[in-house]
Structures are given as structure tokens and as C-alpha cells.
């Protein structure tokens, strides 16, 4: 059963946790990692497509945050989430640049090979769900960077529009419009890939 969408934590808790973490209290740091760890991981996983790489990125992000808290370098009062996810996005971009020089991942789902990702002949409900997710990942990979960024911060990162506005330095209304526009493009890509898949399946049936 996948995790439900994380609900935004009560705001008053964060400043207290940050103060305690800055004093070196590990229980507060553990609480922060528990609250944000999976969200940062999901953001990284959406880009890297590899769980091990996404965990490396997540660890690197939290190491940077801990170092800043430990040395008194944190000054983003009231904007911790925006600061955290800014670090995460920069780290992910660095990793993607580095990954261009590495071998490409071999997960078929990444290449959009939906049938290979699911397994031929798998027609049960779970298989259909996995097909849908694979198609969605493929469509996400084809989105322009700016559209993909908004969708990933909103859904994978679980950020509110207000937090995203602080992170991206954009007005709330603009972000809302960007989000809707990005979802529309994604929907069109899904529909066009669905048509292509249907045509391919039809051709295969004719051959058989």
C-alpha cells in the first residue's frame, strides 16, 4: 500500500525543531529527517529514476542541511521547506549533469518500454496500474523542465503553493497557473502515448 500524500506539518513545530537541532539535539534532527526524508527522496527518484542514486542525493542534501544548522549557517527564518528543497533541487541538477557522463540506467520503465516493465501477458489490475505508472513516468520525462519542476515539487515534494512561491520566487497565482498548464500538457502526452500504444497493440494482434 503506497504512502498517502504527506500532509503539511503544523508550522509551529518546525521552528522549535530547528532551534533544538541547531543546539545539536539529535532527537530534533531525527524528527526533521523523518518529516522530510521521503519527500526529498521522491523528488530525487523522479529525476534519477534509480532508488540507490536517489538515496545518495537525499543523504547529501540532509548532510548539507545538518552542517548549516550545526555551524549556525541557517538563516531562512520561516522558510525552512523552501530552503531545504532549493538545496535538493540544486543537488539533483548537479547529479543529473554528472549522470550524463555515466552509463544509462537499464530499467525498462525508464526507457518507456511499458510492456517490458510490466511483463508480457500481464493483464491483471495490478499490471494495469503499473502500466499506467510507467506511461506517466515516460510522459513526465518528456515534459519541459519548468513544467516538470512544478509538478514534482507539488506532488513528489508535497509542497504547498505558498512554499513553492517562496522557493521559486514567483507569485502564487502564477504558480497555480503553471501547475494547471503542466498537468494539461501531461494529460495530452498521456493521451497521445495511449493512442500510440493502442495502435501498436492493434498491429501486433493483426500479425498474430
Amino acid at each position: 500500500m503506497p504512502d498517502p500524500k504527506p500532509q503539511p506539518e503544523p508550522t509551529p513545530e518546525i521552528p522549535g525543531l530547528l532551534e533544538a537541532a541547531c543546539r545539536g539535539e539529535e532527537w530534533a534532527w531525527r524528527r526533521l529527517v523523518d518529516m522530510y526524508g521521503r519527500r526529498v527522496f521522491a523528488l530525487a527518484k523522479s529525476r534519477c529514476q534509480r532508488a540507490d542514486l536517489a538515496e545518495e542525493v537525499t543523504q547529501s542534501v540532509f548532510a548539507t542541511v545538518a552542517a548549516k544548522l550545526g555551524t549556525g549557517g541557517y538563516s531562512e527564518q520561516g522558510k525552512f521547506e523552501a530552503w531545504l528543497f532549493r538545496i535538493a533541487m540544486n543537488r539533483i541538477r548537479d547529479e543529473m549533469r554528472r549522470s550524463k557522463h555515466r552509463a544509462e540506467p537499464t530499467d525498462p520503465a525508464v526507457f518507456g518500454n511499458v510492456q517490458a516493465a510490466v511483463g508480457e501477458g500481464d493483464e491483471d489490475r495490478e499490471g494495469e496500474g503499473r502500466v499506467q505508472l510507467a506511461r506517466l513516468r515516460e510522459a513526465m520525462a518528456r515534459l519541459p523542465d519548468s513544467d516538470r519542476e512544478v509538478i514534482e515539487l507539488r506532488h513528489h515534494g508535497g509542497m504547498s503553493f505558498k512554499q513553492m512561491a517562496a522557493l521559486l520566487s514567483e507569485p502564487l497565482g502564477t504558480l497555480l497557473a503553471r501547475h494547471h498548464r503542466a498537468l494539461r500538457k501531461l494529460k495530452q502526452l498521456m493521451e497521445s502515448s495511449g493512442d500510440s500504444a493502442a495502435e501498436t497493440t492493434g498491429v501486433e494482434h493483426e500479425r498474430n
Binding site: R30, G70, I151, F161, L176, K187
Partner: protein, 156 residues
């Protein structure tokens, strides 16, 4: 309109399905991590809270073999360069001194030789040396006169 109101706005009908699909995908991505992700991240980052990681990083940077090797090479180059420059400058000074000393001894030796020849009373040689000396004196005097006359001319 504040952030909470925006978040609670109804999604346009035609986008609800794709938004729900994205939430499902995001949940799957969150669940794709190996069990115990938070514990591992916590264990590997807790040291950074009290600056230990940063201090140890700095120490590792200074202590790294590559850094020490580069510093040694740089120090050796600087020392050799300074020593070499000093040596070269000393050599030039000595050479110059040697040259002037060599020239002076040659001139003095020549004069001594001429006087010695004169004193030997070698007939025509001695007379010729006298003429040479007197000619030299005449030339010196004439040069001096020319200089005096030019000064008088200037005053006019």
C-alpha cells in the same frame, strides 16, 4: 488569496484524474526507498550537527596526500628559485668586479713597462717614449685650452 485557500481550490474537472494519477505516482516513488531510509540518513548525517563533519572534512583536506605533495613541490620550487636567483646575482657581481680588476692591472702594467723601458735608456726607444709622453701632455693641454675658449665664447 492566501496559500491555504489556493491549496484548497478545486482542481478543474478535466485535470482531477491526472492530478490523482500524479499523487499515486509520487506515493510510489516515496515507497520505492529501501526500508529504513530515514534511519540511515540520520546515522550518516548526525555528526554534521555539531560541526564534526565539517571539521573532519577540513582536517581531511589538509591531511590529504595530494595536498601535502603539492605543497612540498611548491616549497621546493620556491626555495630552489630563490637560491638560484641569489646565486646568479652573485655570479654577475663577481664577474663584473673581476673584469674591472683585470682591466686596471693591464693598464698599470703597461705604464710600468713603458717607464721601465725609458729608464733603461734604450737610445731611440727612450727618446720615443719621451716624445710620446710629451705629445700626450701637449694633447692634454690643447684640450684644456679648447675648453677654456669655449667657455669664454659662451659668456659672450
Amino acid at each position: 488569496m492566501n496559500g491555504t485557500e489556493l491549496d484548497n481550490l478545486d482542481m478543474p474537472v478535466e485535470l482531477r484524474e491526472i492530478a490523482a494519477a500524479m499523487d499515486t505516482l509520487a506515493a510510489h516513488e516515496r515507497g520505492a526507498a529501501r526500508h529504513g531510509l530515514e534511519g540511515r540518513v540520520f546515522e550518516r548525517t548526525r555528526g554534521a550537527l555539531d560541526g564534526r563533519a565539517e571539521r573532519s572534512q577540513k582536517f581531511r583536506w589538509f591531511a590529504s596526500a595530494r595536498f601535502i605533495t603539492r605543497m612540498r613541490v611548491a616549497a621546493a620550487v620556491a626555495i630552489c628559485g630563490t637560491a638560484g636567483a641569489g646565486w646568479l646575482s652573485q655570479m654577475g657581481h663577481s664577474a663584473k668586479q673581476g673584469l674591472s680588476v683585470a682591466r686596471a692591472s693591464t693598464l698599470e702594467d703597461d705604464v710600468d713597462m713603458m717607464l721601465a723601458l725609458r729608464n733603461l735608456g734604450m737610445g731611440s726607444m727612450g727618446e720615443r717614449i719621451d716624445v710620446l709622453f710629451s705629445d700626450t701632455a701637449a694633447v692634454r693641454d690643447s684640450v684644456k685650452n679648447i675648453g677654456d675658449q669655449s667657455q669664454e665664447g659662451d659668456s659672450l
